[in-house]
């Protein structure tokens, strides 16, 4: 088990005063069998009259707030402390055949089954395509165990798609990412989800964090992440960003392995290095911070994320 202290700071700066801002955030990490959130603290500057916390239809913890006094900057600063204790990765080769998983997904009307079926169709940012199915079928050969095939697909996307932050934006369609074989983790997650769904498999988008690289002398986290919001002009040295990956439901009649995560950006099955915040059909369901404003002129967005081990845990360190 690893305990993390997570800091996710989003700063908007506007060239003119914003008269009204309405925002929705998904920043509180979920509690799952493999993860426990001990503490969550959301600080917003300027402070809204109220923060309306809610749980959405996928079980994610969201918050909404309104800023109705003129302001020229908005800082959303989320602090959480999370233990990650992942279940051991199942044996990939003994998972059910992928055809059986697809077939079962269509028929399983249990609560878990309905939850999964909602993740099997097109969503706003992902669409099933024959070309995507064809790409995936090179790994999803006849009767192949679903997790083994997914692991290979994960590896192929990692190998054949170039990581390129200049290639896409939040709204680049999956088809273009697929055509140009470039993008960032959000794009790779969307591509893999669309491929799995094109085969009839339920797959969801997971929004979360990746453990930060060990701090160096120049990037002492205590110095770069003070408890009070820093001057928004200070860039955070060594800061990271949100991460995204894929979760696949590996269940067939009589063989339910639950949801298994795949991270095509890093070619791995997430273990205790990944902190899960929220999941949905695609990014649009779980955007960490979004908003609609009146006024404000042009705006500038700055995001800083830090994920540090919180100290000695009971796993032997």
């Amino acid at each position: 088990m690893t305990r993390y202290r997570v800091r996710h700071r989003t700063t908007y700066r506007y060239t003119g005063p914003v008269d009204l801002g309405q925002h929705q955030v998904f920043l509180r990490p979920r509690d799952t069998p493999g993860q426990t959130t001990h503490r969550f603290d959301l600080r917003i500057d300027p402070a809204p009259e109220a923060i309306d916390a809610h749980t959405d239809d996928f079980g994610n913890h969201g918050a909404r707030f309104t800023l109705d006094r003129p302001h020229q900057a908005l800082i959303v600063d989320a602090h959480s402390e999370v233990s990650v204790h992942p279940a051991p990765t199942p044996m990939l080769s003994v998972s059910p055949a992928w055809e059986d998983v697809a077939e079962y997904a269509r028929r399983d009307r249990s609560p878990d089954g309905l939850t999964a079926l909602a993740m099997a169709f097109d969503s706003r940012l992902t669409a099933r395509r024959p070309a995507l199915a064809e790409y995936a079928r090179q790994s999803f050969t006849e009767r192949r165990p679903v997790l083994e095939a997914a692991d290979e697909l994960n590896r192929r996307i990692f190998a054949e798609f170039a990581y390129d932050p200049t290639a896409t934006t939040v709204s680049t369609p999956v088809d273009r990412v697929f055509a140009q074989r470039r993008g960032v983790c959000q794009d790779f997650a969307h591509v893999m989800i669309a491929m799995l769904r094109s085969l009839g498999l339920p797959a969801r988008y997971v929004s979360g964090y990746l453990r930060s690289a060990a701090p160096t002398a120049e990037s002492d986290p205590q110095a770069t992440l003070p408890d009070t919001p820093a001057n928004p002009n200070d860039a955070l040295v060594g800061a990271d960003a949100s991460h995204a990956w894929v979760s696949l439901r590996a269940a067939a009649l009589g063989a339910d392995l639950g949801w298994v995560d795949f991270d095509p950006t890093n070619n791995r099955i997430p273990g205790d290095t990944h902190v899960t915040v929220a999941w949905g059909r695609d990014y649009a369901d779980v955007a960490p911070v979004k908003g609609v404003i009146v006024g404000g002129g042009a705006h500038h967005l700055d995001v800083a994320v830090r994920v540090e081990p919180a100290g000695i845990m009971n796993d032997g360190y």
């Binding site: 925002h23 309306d52 309905l114 990581y163 932050p165 990271d240 960003a241 911070v289 979004k290 404000g296």
Partner: protein, 883 residues
């Protein structure tokens, strides 16, 4: 549904004497294949039509033709339009209406009515389950994959119940009658059904043309239905009777915008666009001149997805950010509830009979036509095998082609290609039995034609928890006897629908419940956007008047007729520069002649006959028309007619004409504009809306007059009598001047009359006094210690005029004989008038700017900057003059 039984073709003749003559003008034949609403298979008139036929016989074809010409004129004058997407000339297409109603008997209607109520109840129960426990998905009564694949199944609306607990307050169903005479449901309209307003307008126009038949046949009235709808909405609002209701429209570019404005006015509710509403402290508020006013219920004509850019479709620019949250908190009632659109899909219909038994314990009384949803493998297999007998339609918006595809019209290759496409996304498609729609006679101007029809009926929630059905509906007919598509988008027409009453018809008017208090309250809740549009409407109308008067003065100096008093052609260059100052036109080209006559001819042609030119009358009146169409619910029908007449005058003038034509046309337009001013003065309540319209006129007039006086008197070449007389003529003050001064025009007299005289409505001083009075009467202007900027500017301008020395201003004190002091004085007014306009906009109208979506963080491993969509706030032409 049973296969169509072949029916003998039947022919009916309304004039029995001529029945043998096949060329007889009324001759109407049923097709034999489809059910005919008018005649039975033996050629006998169906029951219920005798009163209508009697009146038609009495009128004869010529009489009906004459009468209906008036009906069509009324439709056009009332501006009943339907916008056709993607057709530049299709905006404001006149509404197509047939004089012959569709008549339905009381017994038959009772069946439809009971079925419609039951179906509304069933659909509401389905929505309750889909957005609640989802038991029907778990039990398999409804296919879960249809819900989850449907983009209209809104996850942010799951897990909570809207205020009042009812999701369908107004729903519509499209019905078709099969050859065996039974009615079937083709489609449900559950999110924001259109057509009820067109029903009202159709009824108004048709019942006036066939009054005897309408009375004799005892036709059910429509008004009570709308009263019930309003009472049901109020019943679920926390503030009950005091509830403020708005009708939310996507705006004037929507295909049925006419109806939105019409319904708002008919129901006595405020017409609002998304930007007129804002969500604060969890509630919805209307932005009015007096501040934010709470809204209790929203009758929405916006599709589900577009209602909230925060929680639903992020790119929606026409929604209200935070609306989902407000609805969830129960502070606002939405009719219909968000997410209701998911049950519009006919793909649910195969499951309804079983569900009706299970949920309501009843047989489904108004079934859908046979439907196969391709998302089910068995159903898809059936579609594959029977494609030629079926119509393929989208099961949900977005993926499949929106237009129905008739299997029998495809080649083998096309069928294979279609099946491949379906196989890629089977859940997005459904197939329906191809139905022979029933037919009814339509008037083609000379005789009766046969057309296929679909009937849209409307169901409203009743305050007692039940439902009520509009006794009537919108009958839509195909564009030709062959066409099976009855789409207003594709050239079809409409009919009034008459439901016969068994007993005497009780009169009922909505005006009784919408009592005087409500009308009085309307002035106070004027949305800022409406004030903004009225203000600019006033400005454009006055600008049109200034240009028309200048052009008329120019034209008068060009004609061969003996010029009138003082119409000396010497003033032409001055008039041309005045025209350019008031409404800049194209720059003088290199090849243009220097001779003022030729030049003036060319300018006259451009401004009157060439709508493409800058400063053309078509452009200015077109702007006025556009603004007026956005405030249809706030201006009288007569005012609308004037604006629409103005616009069409210049639209039609594009064919061109000579100077004499131009003069005649301009003379006519001056009268039309005078009528606008008269209505504005005599028929508009002195509310805030009127003030903004009049402020627009007054400010524009100050600006226009200052510009004309500066061009001619201060800088003009003909500073002698010719220019002065021309200015008097343009300012419609010639008679007053002659009456008062009994002399040839002199600068001091002209300035006295047009600048300083506070009793002359055409003077700058008079208009400034009016402006000041309006500003004093606007909300928030009653604190003398803290006058707003616009108010201070207007006081300053009026003071400058009152303090000016006429003898100094009339002096020719420049080196070349121009009036320098006058130039400086007028220049000051010309600079301050737009500043006043801007200040007014800032104080009252600036929160009309639209919300926009922020850039969001992209999930990636390095920090990123995704700044900046350009602001999409739209403004009317920035002030300072040039439109």
């Amino acid at each position: 549904m049973t296969p169509p039984a072949p029916l003998p073709s039947a022919r009916v003749a309304l004039f029995p004497a001529d029945a043998a003559d096949p060329a007889e003008p009324w001759g109407y034949a049923s097709s034999g294949a489809a059910y005919d609403e008018f005649v039975d298979p033996l050629g006998q008139l169906r029951p219920g039509w005798s009163e209508t036929v009697r009146e038609l016989e009495r009128l004869g074809p010529d009489g009906l033709g004459r009468r209906w010409a008036r009906g069509l004129a009324e439709l056009e004058e009332n501006g009943v339009t339907y916008n056709v997407y993607g057709d530049p000339r299709g905006m404001h297409r006149p509404w197509a209406l047939d004089p012959l109603p569709l008549v339905l008997g009381a017994d038959e209607w009772a069946g439809i009515e009971a079925g419609a109520k039951q179906r509304a109840r069933l659909l509401d129960a389905i929505l309750d389950d889909l957005y609640g426990p989802r038991d029907l998905l778990a039990s398999g009564d409804l296919p879960a994959s249809l819900a989850f694949a449907h983009p209209g199944y809104l996850r942010p609306c799951c897990g909570w119940t809207p205020a009042g607990g009812r999701r369908l307050l107004l729903t519509a169903m499209d019905l078709a009658r099969s050859p065996d005479g039974r009615w079937w449901v083709l489609a449900d309209r559950t999110q924001a059904p259109s057509g009820a307003g067109y029903c009202l307008e159709n009824r108004l126009v048709v019942s006036r043309r066939l009054p005897d038949a309408f009375r004799a046949a005892r036709i059910e009235r429509l008004a009570r239905f709308f009263d019930t709808l309003l009472r049901s909405v109020r019943a679920v609002c926390p503030r009950g009777e005091a509830a403020r209701i708005v009708l939310l429209t996507p705006g004037p570019y929507n295909e049925t915008y006419f109806e939105h404005a019409y319904m708002a006015r008919y129901l006595g509710v405020t017409l609002a666009e998304g930007a007129d509403l804002t969500v604060r402290h969890g509630g919805v508020y209307l932005k009015t001149l007096g501040g934010l006013e709470p809204v209790d219920a929203v009758l929405r004509r916006l599709d589900d997805d577009y209602c909230d850019p925060l929680e639903l479709r992020g790119e929606s620019a026409i929604g209200v950010p935070g609306l989902v949250r407000a609805a969830r908190s129960g502070r606002v009632v939405l009719a219909n509830a968000l997410g209701a659109g998911v049950v519009e899909s006919p793909a649910w219909s195969p499951f309804l009979p079983g569900l009706c038994r299970r949920v309501l314990g009843q047989e489904l009384r108004l079934p859908s036509i046979a439907t196969w949803w391709c998302g089910q493998p068995d159903a898809f297999a059936h579609v594959r095998d029977h494609l030629t007998d079926l119509v393929i339609k989208p099961a949900m918006p977005g993926r499949a082609d929106a237009q129905p595809i008739f299997g029998d019209q495809l080649s083998q290759d096309q069928r294979d290609e279609l099946l491949t496409r379906i196989a890629e996304h089977p859940e997005a498609y459904l197939a329906q039995e191809s139905v022979d729609l029933s037919t009814a006679p339509c008037w083609n101007g000379r005789s009766l034609d046969r057309r296929h029809l679909i009937l849209r009926i409307f169901v409203a929630a009743a305050p007692d928890g039940g439902y009520t059905v509009l006794p009537g509906g919108l009958t839509r007919v195909s564009s030709s006897p062959e066409s099976r598509v009855t789409s207003m988008q594709r050239g079809g027409g409409s009919k009034d629908t008459w439901v016969r009453s068994e007993g005497p018809v009780a009169p009922f008017s909505l005006l009784r419940s919408a009592d005087g208090d409500q009308a009085v309250a309307r002035g106070a809740d004027l949305p800022s956007r409406v004030a903004d549009n009225l203000y600019w409407l006033g400005r454009y109308v006055d600008r049109a008047e200034a240009v028309v008067r200048l052009l008329r003065a120019i034209a008068a100096r060009l004609s061969d007729d003996a010029p009138g008093w003082g119409q000396s052609p010497e003033a032409l260059p001055d008039l041309m520069s005045a025209l350019h100052a008031v409404a800049p036109g194209p720059e003088k080209g290199e090849n243009d002649a220097d001779d003022p006559w030729t030049l003036a001819e060319a300018v006259l042609q451009q401004r009157v006959f060439d709508p493409g030119q800058a400063g053309s009358l078509a452009g200015i009146t077109g702007n006025a028309y556009g603004l007026a169409s956005r405030v249809r619910d706030r201006i009288s029908t007569d005012t609308w007619r004037i604006i629409s007449q103005l616009e069409s005058t210049f639209e039609h003038a594009r064919q061109g004409g000579d100077t004499a034509d131009a003069v005649a046309l301009l003379d006519r337009v001056v009268l039309t504009l005078a009528a606008f001013a008269g209505l504005n003065h005599e028929s508009m309540t002195r509310n805030q809306g009127w003030r903004f319209l009049d402020l627009g006129r007054r400010i524009e007039r100050v600006l226009g007059l200052s510009r004309v006086l500066r061009a001619v008197l201060a800088l003009g070449e003909a500073r002698a009598a010719a220019g002065l007389e021309a200015v008097l003529e343009v300012a419609d003050s010639t008679m007053t001047y002659r009456d008062r001064y009994q002399a040839a025009a002199a600068a001091s007299g002209v300035l006295d009359l047009l600048v300083f005289d506070e009793s002359n409505p055409r003077s700058i001083a008079f208009n400034l006094v009016q402006i000041e009075a309006h500003l004093t009467a606007l909300p928030g202007s009653d604190r003398p210690g803290a006058r707003a900027e616009d108010h201070r500017l207007s006081i300053g301008m009026l003071a400058a005029v009152r303090l000016a020395d006429p003898s100094v201003l009339s002096r020719a004190d420049g080196p070349r004989g121009e009036r320098k002091s006058l130039d400086v004085f007028l220049d000051g007014l010309i600079a301050q008038a737009p500043a006043l306009s801007d200040a007014l906009t800032r104080r009252f109208l600036s929160h009309t700017q639209s919300p926009r979506t922020l850039g969001v963080e992209q999930a990636l491993d390095t920090p990123d900057d995704l700044a900046d969509a350009a602001p999409d706030d739209v403004a009317h032409d920035a002030d300072g003059g040039a439109p």
